[in-house]
Subunit: 306 residues, 6 copies
């Protein structure tokens, strides 16, 4: 069995050429759909391709439930709709693919609009790392004529905060960059914090870029609202069953390339923010309490829980 | 009136060629003493030199109470001891200088010894930025044969944490460096946090390198003891009278040299850690509650309060 | 188009001749129904009346989601049930009106019964402002033979607490009135706090008479249970979509009529109490966690979320 | 009317010969089913037996919602399925009984598996009292090859902790017993706490063996996750309606048999742990936030709320 | 024995014609001194006058340690300095009186200056009730050219906040009055809170006008600094010995003159604010931690502790 | 060198025949004094006896600073007062012994009186373990005619709470005993908690019987005042210098004599209560904040810090 599309996409995800939870999820869904449409073989062989291609994509990056959920949607709906002929199979794959991409796209648009409404004239908003949904939401508010300022952290070690700064400055938004350690110092001036997320757990906790839990804690201590903006499709179903979400640990050269011999370097990519520090999750369901995540999944995406 | 020694030292402090609260204080005290000994002139002119030289040194760096307190000690003791002749004047200056330097040196040694005693076999200790008293204390404990590990932050934007890492690795201590944002993530593994300080206020708060308050908050949240190591001579007397300690804001190139046009960058050098997050101040008086700082000053360095 | 009933009712709401969330909602629903039944005109003209009359009622008072939700129920069910003839139209309006009034009445009764069950012999209960559901619940418990005492605040600036005191004393309940500032002082003697509410948000926060958040905070600090008693029909749907609930600001003469020239007076009618301070919401669904409000709405009043 | 089976079982429950929420519930369900099958009489008399036998079982032990819920399931389903003949009646009783027992058994297995997954190599887990679901979960993890240690309290006055210790030591698990007062002292070494429960309330609070709330508080203070393991069938429906769950008070000889005359002894069997201290409820629905208990009941066991 | 001056002053204090801790203390000290100077009699009779006059003044108002401390100063210093002749007695009384009045006056001036320094351009400052030291401090800052705004509560039941408003508006300061219940609502806009005080206890707690503890709690919750401005002479020595400071309860007509029959009204004049909510006590010693009050007394006013 | 008295006393302390911090301290001081008086030898030999006897007593029991401080007092005052002849030596030893015993006795009496004043009619007071100062204080209040009730824990594993119960019941005080785990359950009924202590640290923390920190935490959570009653002579000077106070671990048979093979048992005798949970330390200085312990030592027992 030779896969045509998936290995290439999988490699680009591994090398960070494709990044961001949504981008990765879209690319993986498209790659799997393409692979299935291109494949010529028996029903049994198709199942084999489905399993193998999914495995390869899943292993390209840990801590990516949004991608895993997309791939799961394809598999479970293909089974449920059981296309009988080769032609109808291709058609069904395309229909399923379109439904997911629309779920992604529609959810994203709705989330950005809700986030934009939270912003008032005169607000100072702090964000950490880079989330295209967060910057999208800020730019939407700016287009609506709202006057506000943004403070964003540089986000060591990969400086994704600089991407955030650049996008916002180009959009004409008043933006100030600070080191990660200065978040607490500026918290008193801030009206609210807004960050993206990579994964949601069944207890209502949030997994996002390393440092998010520190920003959340500083916000809570200063009694500043802390919002998380993200689709419910980032929910990690295995956390219901007692498993822990894995935290990816990345290359130490990102922190200090020519470090002295004998020095240990640790470089976890994400941390966990406790539900008690999250004022609200801005999702395609509206702004909800993080305690209700599992209930919202039950109602909105029941197939995620099978 | 031409000053000989002070302008040079003052310039080197300004350009960060001399740095660290203790080094700055020692250099300034020596420079002022030398200036006074070298000066040939009337009693009135000496007073003028004293005032002018002090002003120049004080202005070379904000947020440096330890230096200001040393200069104040010279002035107030010169007045109190009122040497009558030219020769006795030079001698008195030298005696006063020696007393201060011994206060600095003796206090430092005592603080490092107490800090070293706090460390137990098997401990994991987290520190932020670089403090020669903290690394001195850790190296002393290592020489005493204690087995422990250190986690230290890299401390953006100037990476002083790398100096800490290098010193400890060279001393043979098991050391791990992390980004500032990962402090909270590793806090659960830590046995206690220890940091230096730049200034102490009359309400019992601590001023130290930007990010210290975030580390303290994460330690408090995780119920990990948080110790501050520093001489009482870093007490800032003007805070008693209602003034605020100024927070130095540094050059933005330290954060992002080729940043996009229009982007604001803020770069405060220090932040304030509330006394409630400090388990104990390790001082030349022993380990004391930060609530008692002012009392300890009253008893130990009453001249600071004149 | 000339409206017959709505302008009069709308004016009486504006002048506070009709007040209390439930009374206002009932009057507005009845007025709109009457207006619709009385109107003689084309289908298109009816739609116009519906829109115009609703707008006028909504604008008569801000921070009144219960009224807005009632008017929305009429509009959405009229559309869904699409009566074809003039006669059936009048009949359908009447049926819809009756359904709402029964929802209001049935919910209210159930809430008062649950509240009454919470009360035990010997309890001391503190309340703020005047809520007819709260006093109704207390009087029901009294009729059931329970022995308890009530402490209520006077509730500046309109002294609605005096209405509460008067109703309870007339019912034979042992009642003590205090100034608003004394709530914290007496909290240690209190067994639980119970208040009404004006609006509920999608994050689970509670909007009620100014001062409620202070009482809730004092109760939380003293570890006294704090209950909110109110129908889920006070849920504010626009908060899901990122909007903020508006806080009505009232006439300053209520605070100080002959105040010195140049003095500013602020007189907000409501404040927001954070979900973390609310032990339970006593609703027609039973006693629920405020984190579950949105879920309860999804199940109980799905039309509210359209 | 003479009952054959129920009086004996009821007596054994009263004398603690049958104990543990699950054992009691199973025995009571079996006894009532047997009683109904054995009874020969008219439809009306059967109803009488059902009521009388249920009453007797319910009164055998307070604070046992799991038993009450099981008996309620029989009654409500018997009514709904309305068997017409004598024979079909016996068959329906048996079917209902089997369904409950399977709900009990299936839920229990699933809960133990989820609990076992939460355990990681190297963990130190603290538990209080004896819960067969907790020890079952620990033994399952041990069989799966996980290496961990358990600390358990002795649990005065009945020393149920010794049963826990014995079971775990026999299973080959590294176990340490401490006095109840030492829980807080050892909390810093613990990775998470896990306890069983006797009842769940509509506000999300947990009722379990006396001392549980102290362990939960110490865990919260030390920022250690605190899990409760139990089936949703322990939900107490009357708490929705404003009633308080009763707390059983037991014989004082359990504390001090030959105590001095005049000394009072209080011996409550359970206490209430606030939802804020519970990281997650490990249930047959997965790990859920305690704020969502009522929602989970609505979805999973709607008959509980009739 | 007939007292000439004291009974009149004592009566005016009782009828609130003289009010404010400082005014009462000054009047009482002057009255007792005058009484002693005017009295013609034996040494023994003088002692009797001293005791009787002191008792009468002390009883004129509870919760007034500043007055009691002043009277104690006269008594203890008269004894210590033991004037031998009639003339020297009068002179010594006058000297002691002057020393106290200067202590009062000098401390007050110093406190107001420190308070004024805390204020920065652009600050919004909230205060509760009326304290002449607080308004004095604000007016001093205004004279120094600082631009700031004040929000003050009306302070039911006696509306002392209107006195504060009037004084500040007349001084040209931008002032806004709100009801007591709105303090929490406006806290987010506030930079710091400053209030006066009536008594200080040995544990470091603050006794001030009813409602102060609620404002302090709201400030703490919102993480806004809360300062108390007052002389150490308000320290209550009996609290060291385990006694409780009495809380005066005032006439209920102040709250509701024509209240319904059977209604209880409670009207405590003061409440206790826990030291943990006080950022700093602005005293004649500078800004100190409330934890250090007893230490400051030991050093500054040792005679208070005899 | 043969010691006559000390070995016997030291053995009785080891075997718990002498117990309680005060009893142990008195016995040790008397034993050392007797040993010194009985000894006949050269000045040098006396020094040797002093050192050896002190070492033996100190080693008889860990966590006993009050004893160590008493022995230190003898040594340092013997050196300072340097008696020249044999006879004067014996006399000086006796004088020093008397001074210590009076310090112990006077302090104890004063502490019990202050504690008794804290108690009001109607109070319910909770205590843990047995402290003769606490029961003495309660009995004193009872003799003064105060009406109050006591709840005390049984205090596993040695049931010292039964000694407390017995003493109080015999004195005619209304007393209720509960298991240690029930402390949190009854906390809501309690007016304040009072416990003794074994050691005080320079940071202001309290070391007392295992379980004290749990009781303190429950009191703090319920916002109930928590008092510690003990002489400042229990201060542990080495904690100033960075050392940790050792926590004695006792025989495991105290917990479970016939435990299953392979079971670990841990039995620490004491735990550490953080200063933040202590409302006040009732000492011979009055009721002081635990933050001020070191200051009080500086002023009251400066020799402790040499």
């Amino acid at each position: 069995m030779i896969l045509k599309t998936v290995p290439g996409v999988s490699g680009r995800i591994k090398r960070l050429e494709i990044q961001g939870a949504t981008n990765i999820a879209i690319s993986a869904v498209k790659a799997l759909s393409q692979e299935l449409r291109d494949f010529e073989g028996s029903k049994e062989e198709v199942d084999h391709v489905l399993i193998e291609a999914t495995r390869m994509l899943v292993e390209s990056r840990a801590t990516e439930p949004m991608m895993r959920n997309g791939l799961k949607y394809i598999r479970s709906h293909l089974t449920a709709e059981a296309p009988s002929s080769r032609d109808s199979f291709k058609e069904v794959v395309t229909q399923i693919e379109e439904r997911i991409l629309e779920m992604y796209q529609g959810g994203r648009q709705r989330i950005m609009e809700i986030g934009a409404k939270r912003i008032r004239d005169g607000d100072i908003i702090l964000t950490h790392c880079h989330s295209s949904a967060v910057t999208g939401s800020l730019m939407l508010a700016h287009e609506m004529g709202k006057k506000f300022k943004v403070i964003n952290t540089e986000t060591r070690p990969k400086y994704q905060g600089r991407i955030t700064s650049r996008e916002l400055v180009e959009a004409g938004i008043d933006t100030t960059i600070i080191v990660d350690s200065a978040a607490s110092h500026y918290m008193k001036e801030v009206d609210f914090v807004i960050v993206g997320c990579d994964a949601l757990t069944s207890e209502g906790n949030i997994i996002n870029k390393i440092g998010t839990s520190q920003v959340a804690l500083a916000a809570y201590e200063a009694r500043i609202p802390f919002y998380v903006l993200g689709t419910l499709l980032k929910f990690e179903p295995i956390t219901i069953h007692g498993h822990y979400e894995a935290i990816e640990e990345r290359n130490t050269d990102e922190i200090w390339a020519d470090s002295p011999e004998g020095l240990n370097i640790r470089n976890p990519a994400f941390d966990v923010t406790r539900r008690d520090y999250v004022s609200g999750l801005i999702s395609e369901e509206g702004i909800i309490s993080p305690h209700s995540i599992l209930e919202a999944i039950h109602r909105h995406y029941p197939w995620l829980l099978d």
